[in-house]
Symmetry: C2
Subunit: 442 residues, 2 copies
Amino acid sequence: MSGATASLAQFIAASRWADVPASVRHDAKRSLLNWLGCAIGGSNAPSVGLAIDALATFAGPAQATVINRGLRFDVATTAVINGVSSSVLDFDDTHLHTVIHPSVPVASAALALAEHLEAPGEDLVHAFIIGIEAACKVGNAISPEHYACGWHVTSTCGVIGAAAACARLLALDDTQAAYAIGMAASQSAGLSEMLGSPTRMFNMGHAARGGFMAAWYASRGIGSSARALEAPRGFANAFTTRCDWSVLTDTLGVTWEIAANAFKPYPCGIVVHPVIDGCLLLRKRHAIDAAGIERVEVTVNPAVQTIMSHPEPADGLRSKVSAQHCIAVAIVHGAAGVHQFTDPVVREPAVADLRRRAFLLCCDAMAKDAAKVCVVMKDGTRHETFVEHSKGSAELPLTDRELEDKFRSLMAHGRIGGDADRMIAMMWTLETVADAGAVARV
Amino acid sequence: MSGATASLAQFIAASRWADVPASVRHDAKRSLLNWLGCAIGGSNAPSVGLAIDALATFAGPAQATVINRGLRFDVATTAVINGVSSSVLDFDDTHLHTVIHPSVPVASAALALAEHLEAPGEDLVHAFIIGIEAACKVGNAISPEHYACGWHVTSTCGVIGAAAACARLLALDDTQAAYAIGMAASQSAGLSEMLGSPTRMFNMGHAARGGFMAAWYASRGIGSSARALEAPRGFANAFTTRCDWSVLTDTLGVTWEIAANAFKPYPCGIVVHPVIDGCLLLRKRHAIDAAGIERVEVTVNPAVQTIMSHPEPADGLRSKVSAQHCIAVAIVHGAAGVHQFTDPVVREPAVADLRRRAFLLCCDAMAKDAAKVCVVMKDGTRHETFVEHSKGSAELPLTDRELEDKFRSLMAHGRIGGDADRMIAMMWTLETVADAGAVARV
């Protein structure tokens, strides 16, 4: 075998825990801690309840645990639900080059299968790393054109990542792993149009499910194409206008995408994060009272205008893609946490008023992780700042301590009992845990 | 609401059985009879056993029947397996304009749900018709460019058809039906690369499952885009280079795609069917003995060369897309039924020998349902015929009696007990059957 599919399959089948550098293992545990926090924090969201209600009627035996809900379903169903809960807050990780949020599909699938298999923590972390590499390196090969074609890249590439992680957990050989990739590629789906609706979370849950099933099918002897990614009528042909598989084939096991995974300090669209940093900074520095503001002008990369200019979001969900709402809560509340993107806050008069006085000025030269923020007061005073790199960006990643604080805040939001310190300690030593399923049963 | 998604949703929600013309009802029963025969005939194929083995581990409660296997699983799982069994023989129907095989995804989903709901036969036939219209009219709007982009159109459009059928069975209102379409569009998947592997059947089974789940999610209050088909970052944008939604919006309830559904007399690629007709005719007319043949020359539309020139198929599955194999069995066996596309027949020396002496001559002017066949004997004699329209084409559809004969042969292949005449009679009067699930429990 040769080609992208074979290279990826061989990487999946041949990878050994001992080959994974220590720093990569640590990066993986950072991602898993962040993912688990998101799943706990999102576990009580209405969409999760609806997902459970809809899926329970058809669910199979109690094989895997729905995080923080006291329910157990079959692996595939659990993967969907944990995919919904870990993405519903839009607080999950981002592979910055591709804008894939890789942990949701990969961890939701891998953890459910690991629990069913009673696999040790080491195997889960290892499989998770392999899955992230698969999703993000496939994404690298077809970005940015793939996203520009209208695809929800987290689900389209995530299903392949989920398949790779589960292929590793099931110890597939390289032929089976290629079939798992093929079956996953032929289930790859998800439209960007859904980013403003609850279907967004299901795109990711279905990617987790589809990837798991692809690996399981392959493990049970069901065949597929061995050239699904690169064949003339295969994945890249259908899903992108340009691709370069050498960025996958030349880097597998050499560079690690998980090291480029970033974590959001705010549960909303990432392109507006430098704006929030600037607003929070100015509010604190100048003790700004929102009632005295004439207008807020932010100078941003045009992506903010394209993706997030929604001055009147209808509800909490849609406020996450409203740059104007982000500006308003950062200044009115002095915070942009999970609470600031809920329906009641969207309806607060002071927030709604400031949203209407927030203006986006686009500048092609502004980097995506930078912004200029200017608050113009009614008395004519102008407060300005320039944010060169937003918190959570590649240049200014969240520290381990900041990730722990984020985990604690998500635990509080999820109204979970239990000892946060003990859970955090378990995640930092996950490769030594005898039963990976303990993560799901937190 | 306006636009393609809203039009389709309103059609689904507003359609009443009384609005469906009698001829359309009869066409639907022809399609369902053909589909059930294919599912019975395919039910013992190895791929079906593998699907059952893989899925049973995760399946939910006994809600719907796996055709001819004495097993019951949850609706979603059953839809996948019946999708595999009804497509595995490649003997299912074809909507000629789009090359969609619409009954597999639509009927597999609708029957499983109808059985679970204990819906009457009338509701099943009605929902099936609505689903076929949705799949094929969406297909019409994006064809032929969509297929040319590398998509397996039966699964990409079939998931929308399955959602429409299940939306009708669940009596969704127009908002819910639009969400069902949206959720289905965002699960739409399937690569043409898979047409030569077992993943092909799973593409269709997954389309059935995804469409059912989409409608179920919508019925349980999960939202989606209301403009999934036509939105700038929606279905058509991602899945085709050109579309014309007016062919959907202007024709819903006016023309009926199920009337344009064709049935294969031979379980192999449809473009070679006129060649088979010609070979069978010459063999019978001249009592041709294969041993006396020097060569067979067939003049065909270039599509035959492009899709089906495979002189040495590796096995039964691949012989279905080998024009040379079709020629060989038609002349050696005087038949091109299910048996002729099995591994043992592929290995028969006489068949293998004649495959190597079968030659395709392409002619742009030859219609796709026409062919010229010339058998050149070793003694120099030439037997020739021209087939203007192949059996099963739009101009020469299978008669009801021919469909009944096909059903009987598929029952025999599926080694099913029971009274074929009674089953055929039930299908012709399906709208009067009290419990649609009786179809699945044949």
